[in-house]
Symmetry: C2
Subunit: 476 residues, 2 copies
């Protein structure tokens, strides 16, 4: 056997293959981020409108990376990239795209093409895409979908957003209790095309189709064919279609669930939620909390200038109002400031340290509430701890600033006033930081939203009032 004749060919194939692999390695860094130089190559190809080059570059990427790439290139090149995707790539990239980018891109596609793209997806992914379309286009896309897929998406959309019903996929594997492992396996093999793309549990159902347990798929492989499912079934945590997705995510995390059945009002199995959907929900909730704490509303990745402005202006306006409140407090002590201008110099320190301490206490409390580590059993302990922390931090910071102020202005009474004001303001900060979110939580409001502005309003007003008031009493 000679290798010579085909070696040219092999060499070519080899190079082709290696370079595709090399391209993939070049495209993604160690940390799974797109290499900016790879993004530049794509932008160049898009500018040259070089479809074959774009195809070659994007074929090196997985759907989630293509979605990232579309986010990284300037907005006017996104259409070009999407146009060269194969129908399969297009379908797989869609659920991975940032919502805002997806909405912009989809305007360019016909309902028929969209219908084809979403029909290949699990019902939860398909519904998530269809729900964002405006009503007219949504109806057109649904009308162009095959009947079973349309029915699945329509059922999904009938549940309110952020519920288990919306989150679940309808594709699910169920078996009666009296079946054996062998029967279950044979049944699965008989109609593989009806199975979900991926599943982790078989739900054991009673005659009314209510889930009474779950058998892990790996369990089916571990036990002899004659074992009945009822012997293997483990207790199952089920969710009702109208449950809030945040609660579902919390239960998944707490009980380390991989998949769980969803039941309707009558307790009948209607779908399942899998942990990969939950990871998305958890990240979403965390994102909402962290932005809300900073006083930023709903602002997506590719928010336009206008979107960002709308997300931020409301809290800045409230901040202006609370600023005017502080200004009113200061204005009440104008006479004192005229007599001793050092008060104007030092007063922002007292307010600022209070504001930061309040934000610390607030954040810790909001997190504990989000992680459900706090309730009536230990809320009082938390407030006490915050006050003790405020006393210790206050003692340290008050001493430091008393010395600084005393040396600076050669006035030890002024130093003492700064010290007292800092301790009192830190106590106010600790109390407000713990009590404001606890109270909002008890009123069934999201404690992450709006707590910040209340707490800093308290520490500003208390800081200025206590410092200027004590100074007026003691120094003037």
């Amino acid at each position: 056997m000679t290798t010579e004749p085909s070696s040219g060919n092999r060499e070519f194939h080899h190079t082709e293959r290696t370079s595709a692999e090399e391209l993939e390695e070049f495209a993604l860094g160690e940390d799974y981020q797109l290499n900016p130089r790879f993004v530049d190559m794509v932008v160049d190809a898009a500018e040259a409108d070089d479809a074959p080059r774009l195809t070659r570059l994007m074929d090196a990427l997985r759907p989630a990376d293509i979605a990232d790439l579309i986010g990284f290139v300037p907005a006017d090149h996104r259409d070009t990239l999407v146009r060269v995707l194969s129908p399969e790539q297009f379908s797989e990239v869609l659920p991975e795209l940032d919502e805002q980018i997806r909405e912009e891109l989809l305007d360019a596609f016909s309902p028929a093409r969209l219908a084809q793209a979403v029909s290949g997806l699990d019902s939860d992914d398909a519904a998530a895409i269809v729900e964002d379309l405006d009503e007219e286009r949504r109806d057109a896309v649904l009308a162009a979908m095959p009947a079973p897929e349309r029915a699945a998406v329509e059922t999904s959309l009938a549940y309110p957003e952020d519920t288990a019903g919306r989150l679940m996929q309808r594709e699910v594997v169920a078996a009666p209790e009296f079946w054996t492992v062998g029967q279950a396996i044979d049944h699965l093999r008989a109609a593989p095309e009806e199975l979900p793309e991926l599943f982790f549990d078989i739900y054991v159902v009673d005659p009314a189709y209510r889930p009474v347990g779950a058998v892990a798929v790996s369990g089916l492989l571990r036990y002899p064919r004659g074992t009945t499912l009822s012997e293997l079934a483990q207790p199952v945590t089920d969710f009702s279609v109208d449950q809030d997705q945040e609660e579902v995510a919390y239960a998944f995390e707490k009980y380390r669930l991989i998949s769980a059945p969803v039941v309707d009002e009558a307790g009948r199995l209607v779908g399942q939620i899998t942990v990969d959907d939950i990871v998305g929900v958890l990240q979403e909730e965390n994102q909402e909390d962290i932005l809300a704490l900073a006083g930023v509303g709903d602002e997506g990745r590719d928010a336009t200038t206008w979107g960002s402005t709308r997300a931020r202006l409301p809290w800045l306006s409230v901040n202006l109002l609370t600023g005017l409140l502080s200004a009113t407090v200061i204005s009440g002590f104008s006479g004192s400031i005229e007599k001793l201008v050092a008060l104007a110099v030092l007063m922002p320190i007292v307010a600022s340290i209070g504001g930061n301490a309040g934000t610390q206490a607030l954040t810790v409390t909001v997190r504990a509430l989000a992680l459900r580590e706090l309730n009536a059993s230990n809320a009082f302990r938390l407030v006490r701890r915050e006050l003790r922390v405020a006393l210790i931090n206050g003692a340290v910071l008050a001493s430091l600033s008393a010395v600084a102020a005393g040396l600076w202005f050669s006035d030890w009474n002024l130093g003492a006033v700064v010290a007292m004001a800092i301790v009192l303001n830190l106590l106010a900060a600790g109390a407000a930081g713990a009590l404001v979110p606890l109270t909002l939580g008890r009123l069934k409001q999201d404690p992450a939203v709006s707590s910040g502005v209340f707490v800093t309003a308290v520490t500003d007003v208390v800081g200025f009032f206590v410092f200027l008031g004590l100074a007026t009493l003691i120094l003037l």
Copy 2:
């Protein structure tokens, strides 16, 4: 067959069962949180040292709920609760406990009892518990463990913290490419006790034991017994033992992985990571980010007063220093303030709005970095957008505050100065909020840590300087 004779018995069983179920329903609210009244019942039983009552109450709970309960009761009752747990319960509750509480509790247990408890766990869970012990006790516990479990834990502990090697479990299922579905299933059934408790993928390995693909367990059930694994294998994302867990978590989220193989330096399969471990890592990273943004260091759920103080005092001290910097700026304009005390009244508004806008921009940037939505390709676009947002928000807030200040002090020039200062400070806030975390990120520092204090230092100094400077130039 008469049912009469046994009906008393059945009635009793029924009641027993119902009341246990009712107890469970009572213990956990709709939102999977422990009912404070249930916690009170447990505290009562612990105070009465009533072991049977405690056992009955805790038997209604799952391990994760028992761990929560231990967190909710006052510290001096925790030992009592743990003492009544069965060995199985104790073993299952351990990995669910908050780290700090676990450390405190474990001091009371003999190395032999601990060794028994951790031997029943997957190697990753066992290692996570053993690593927290002090060296002497760690050695004693390891010595008391059966040899195979000890070896697994020791190997795990040999990898640095927060790496894939530490996160993985060594229990894994692998098969050669040429096996058929039938062979794989028969092999699994032959030695079920050697299988991981739960698994989702079978890794297909080459003769050097390098993973070349994965077959989902549900795939084994979907295809005929004669299919070879190489036909079914899907490409696999593998991780090396020394990879950072944060990168692993990011890849799991991005590619929606359920489980993934971990390989050693030679590329050989040595373990696997499953998505339930990743959920914990993601929550940990989010928690770190959110606390770091608020200037809180590592502060756990049950931080003592002293722990919380240590976590917060450093940033408050830095805040005191930046506060002194602002005070120095103000002090440079003492003369102006003496002439026009309204400046002291209004200056905190300018600084405070700037600080809030800076925190908003900062938080959005830190999140985009954490979600890897930002790199050299679009960083410049982000900075430009922040400046545009600052201009629009600045225009709105400046007009409002100019009117407020003008009316209040009947001085429209003063209003104009406030307006200009706010616009300039918002521009500084937008630039600092975007550039500080981007720069820290480029320097391979965590952008969530310490960004906040830099950004507010900028907005304070710029705010006071611009407002007082313009006022001195224009009004005096």
